[in-house]
């Protein structure tokens, strides 16, 4: 990607904020101590880790001692699901999740299923929302965990995690939320929310890759998935990556949804306003229930891979970056009822801290030109190429 490119893939990852880089560099250059060491260098590193933990906790409305640092949201999701389910290895266990979760939840659920865990996948509605009543209906007496994401990474649709969590509490079932896309866009108050486990990451909000956290509410029992040390209350062994954690802490200080989300929403809406000039376009996901940074658009009659290739100078994605090597259509969009063809004809645009209005206008023009060009070479194509005729 060159400096002239327009980056509209913040939901995949984001550029590191210079203030974050500065904090990390300071740490790398001067604070190399192991935070678990008892000497002065170690104690200084420990203070940095705990300051970062406090910053992350403050942003998500949690007590610092409830957060465990991990290598990212994927590890946090693995720890949440495997940590709860494997703790009940000898008892029958059941997991409830939805069909539109991130791969780090779905693949973990699949791995657990191979170990004998029963998994119920709740369908999403056509607007991308997961109906809390469907989740409640899926809960059984042996359900050990419910896992539903907060903001969908492909559509930006906000799930009603407070209602789902309350229903889980009524049934005494722990509730896990993947909040990788929420921080900085929505206010989180984990301590007062009916949420028992919550996965967080840094790199979606202009922090570094390779660091995340898992919020663990009191009395939530987890089995460690990494062994080899007593770090993070014995639940996540391994030397703490001080500089990464410092970067995450700084990123969370900066990620104020009150300050950022309104501007991101305006940029997203401007982009959609411009894209609507393209005949036949439609957006995916309930517009009234979306986080500010994501816009998912279907361009009927366009093969998605060709559209992405034709978009020289605009970085957007087919959906989850974690599934972008797969030739299969987005499981989120097909889970919302789109055909494989329409799902493959869709792009996710996501804006962020450094996106400008001029960029979204220019990107929309580039997209319109590419769509026109690709449609012009398939004028006689059969109806299925436009998503109908199946």
């Amino acid at each position: 990607m060159s400096d002239a490119d327009i980056y509209l893939d913040y939901a995949a990852t984001s550029p590191v904020d210079p203030a974050v880089t500065a904090a990390m560099l300071e740490c790398l250059q001067h604070e190399f101590g192991n935070p678990s060491s008892q000497h002065a260098a170690g104690r200084r590193a420990r203070r940095l880790v705990e300051a970062a933990r406090a910053a992350v906790a403050a942003r998500v409305g949690a007590k610092p001692e409830r957060l465990l640092f991990t290598s990212g949201a994927t590890e946090a999701n693995n720890l949440a699901l495997q940590g709860v389910l494997r703790r009940r290895r000898k008892a029958p266990a059941h997991l409830v999740t939805s069909r539109i979760e991130h791969k780090s939840v779905l693949d973990t659920a699949r791995a657990l299923a191979a170990e004998g865990v029963e998994v119920t996948y709740v369908d999403a509605d056509a607007d991308g929302s997961v109906d809390p009543r469907r989740v409640a209906a899926a809960i059984r007496t042996d359900t050990a965990l419910v896992s539903i994401m907060h903001v969908n990474n492909e559509t930006g649709v906000i799930q009603d995690v407070n209602t789902i969590g309350a229903l889980c509490r009524e049934r005494g079932v722990p509730f896990h939320v993947d909040a990788a896309q929420s921080v900085g866009k929505l206010e989180l108050e984990l301590e007062s929310a009916p949420i028992d486990l919550c996965s967080l990451t840094a790199h979606k909000i202009c922090g570094p890759k390779g660091v995340g956290a898992l919020y663990v509410a009191p009395h939530t029992a987890l089995a460690a998935q990494l062994h080899g040390g007593e770090q993070e209350r014995g639940l996540r062994a391994g030397t703490l990556a001080t500089h990464q954690i410092v970067g995450m802490g700084r990123a969370y200080e900066l990620a104020d949804p009150e300050a950022e989300a309104p501007r991101l929403g305006l940029l997203r809406d401007r982009l959609w306003q411009e894209l609507q000039a393209i005949p036949g376009v439609r957006q995916n996901g309930a517009p009234a229930r979306r986080a500010a940074h994501v816009l998912n658009v279907t361009f009927p009659g366009i093969e998605g891979e060709s559209l992405r290739f034709a978009l020289r100078g605009v970085a957007a994605s087919a959906g989850s970056a974690c599934a972008s090597d797969s030739p299969e259509a987005s499981h989120v969009l097909t889970g919302m009822g789109l055909s494989d063809t329409l799902a493959s004809s869709s792009l996710r645009f996501s804006v962020g801290r450094f996106t400008t209005e001029a960029e979204v206008v220019r990107a929309a023009a580039t997209v319109a030109e590419a769509v026109h060009r690709l449609r012009s070479i398939a004028k006689s194509a059969p109806a299925w190429c436009s998503g109908s005729g199946f």
């Binding site: 093969e303 290739f309 004028k379 194509a381 059969p382």
Partner: protein
């Protein structure tokens, strides 16, 4: 997905994309598709005295499929019908550095060209 420079060049140029005018003497056409692979290709050829004088294509598919259709249209022009019938899509795939998992998709291009000879007036091979 990475694309080779040849693929990028043909995808960008699309020199022979489009349609030939209805009623053009010697016009034949053929198409093929595979819905499961999200590919559809159509060729129109003008044959005169056993030679492909003009070739045009339309395509819905991935960049490799579009570039390959473009490359094949270029290759067809000026060839004798006999040569054109010997089109080897695998050779085109090799030139475009098409990943092995996509070769099946590009074989539909070979099918579309073959369909031009099968039903000269309204050549059509819907594939599967």
């Amino acid at each position: 997905m990475e694309y080779g420079s040849v693929t990028a060049r043909y995808f960008e140029a699309l020199t022979r994309a489009g349609e030939l005018p209805n009623g053009l003497p010697g016009l034949v056409s053929g198409e093929a598709e595979d819905r499961t692979l999200h590919v559809w290709v159509r060729f129109q050829l003008q044959l005169q005295s056993g030679i492909v004088r003009l070739a045009r294509f339309q395509a819905f598919g991935c960049p490799h499929a579009v570039a390959a259709a473009s490359k094949v249209a270029e290759w067809l022009e000026g060839r004798s019908e006999g040569d054109a019938r010997s089109l080897d899509a695998r050779a085109v795939c090799a030139e475009l550095e098409v990943p092995v998992e996509k070769v099946g998709k590009l074989l539909r291009i070979e099918d579309a060209v073959a369909a031009c000879w099968r039903h000269p007036a309204t050549g059509n091979d819907k594939g599967r």
